[in-house]
Symmetry: C2
Subunit: 210 residues, 2 copies
């Protein structure tokens, strides 16, 4: 799937069959360090020295595992989108009716953007700083997330459970609502991530009811 990955990072691709055996531990530590740094200061304001230090490596140590700072951002974005997609798919499978599916998906998606708001901010807002090739890959992941919601809305309309004049537009609006949580949420916000999720799930149901 990630056939255009750089050599420097192809060792991360052990999700396929577990053939890779070369210590991916440092790689993940670097990704986590980058996530912290990018979340604190933004992609461009973060130095590779800072990332290396947070991971307990020398500045040069980064380049053994990643081709560039941008490559680090890509791996991080890719992991984040994968997590989000799996979350949304799991929510759909967990619920039976379109009504419950919409609530489950929106609830979990919003909650994820609150709980992981640091990662989510990078994933959503540093996207323009990816290279064109990496942007394309992430865009493909985003389309998959969008497709899940759109299909559920369409199913609900077909079943007569929903009244949605504009399915693609409403899909986008629902996802927007959740994604924007990452922008405004911070620890100590009035509501917990769980409460935000529940509230947004109910808002979604109100929006699509006939």
């Amino acid at each position: 799937m990630l056939s255009t990955m750089t050599n420097a990072t192809s060792t991360t691709g052990d999700t396929a069959g577990g053939t890779a055996r070369r210590a991916p531990e440092t790689v993940q530590r670097l990704i986590d360090a980058a996530a912290d740094a990018f979340a604190d200061k933004g992609f461009h304001a973060t130095t590779t020295r800072d990332i290396a230090a947070r991971a307990g490596l020398s500045p040069a140590g980064v380049y053994v595992h990643f081709a560039s700072k941008e490559d680090l951002l890509f791996q991080l974005s890719h992991q984040g989108h994968t997590a989000a997609l799996e979350l949304v798919q799991a929510a759909r499978e967990r619920a039976a009716s379109p009504r419950d599916q919409v609530a489950a998906i929106v609830s979990d998606f919003a909650r994820w953007h609150a709980e992981h708001f640091r990662t989510a901010r990078i994933v959503q807002y540093e996207f323009p700083h990816l290279s064109p090739e990496h942007r394309d890959q992430v865009r493909a992941q985003r389309k998959q997330i969008d497709a899940v919601v759109r299909q559920v809305l369409a199913a609900g309309v077909r079943a007569g459970d929903f009244e949605v004049p504009d399915v693609p537009g409403t899909t986008l609006a629902l996802l927007s609502m959740c994604i924007d949580v990452a922008r405004w949420y911070e620890p100590g916000t009035r509501r917990t991530p769980e409460a935000i999720g529940t509230a947004y799930g109910e808002l979604a149901q109100r929006l699509v009811r006939p």
Copy 2:
């Protein structure tokens, strides 16, 4: 109101009574140049050299009018938030009933985030890069926008036109929906800014109906 403005930029404050007479033309040209540059590359990736060049000045010319690059970001953010607030207030005054007011506000706010998506992105997503003092000032402007929507929702509930279990939460969700337009919109998107506005206004009405 902007009493804590830096000296370097206080000449911009001629909105009060028109007492300032010192060519604010170059100042605005610099702000516009910064807007273009920040939108293209982000705040931190933009160089002061680039801003100066776009405004037709030497690198040093910037510092006659602004104390720092961050100061430029603040002026730009402040102008953007002022425009957005005025837009929202105008929409409320234009409509009579809470139902029409919600539609007008959400429609215009969403449309603004599409039409001015370059400015809006800076305004919304470079916010963390403002200095603490400047962040406070912008936060105050945001609260004013939020208050307008919240009051309209509350009025609609009182009048029995709306059913909104959670007024502050729904206010936030409606604004979120609109703000996120700036993230995904780009010229050539399926729908025009006007169509997006209309669609979002209708979504808002669906969301709050009893």
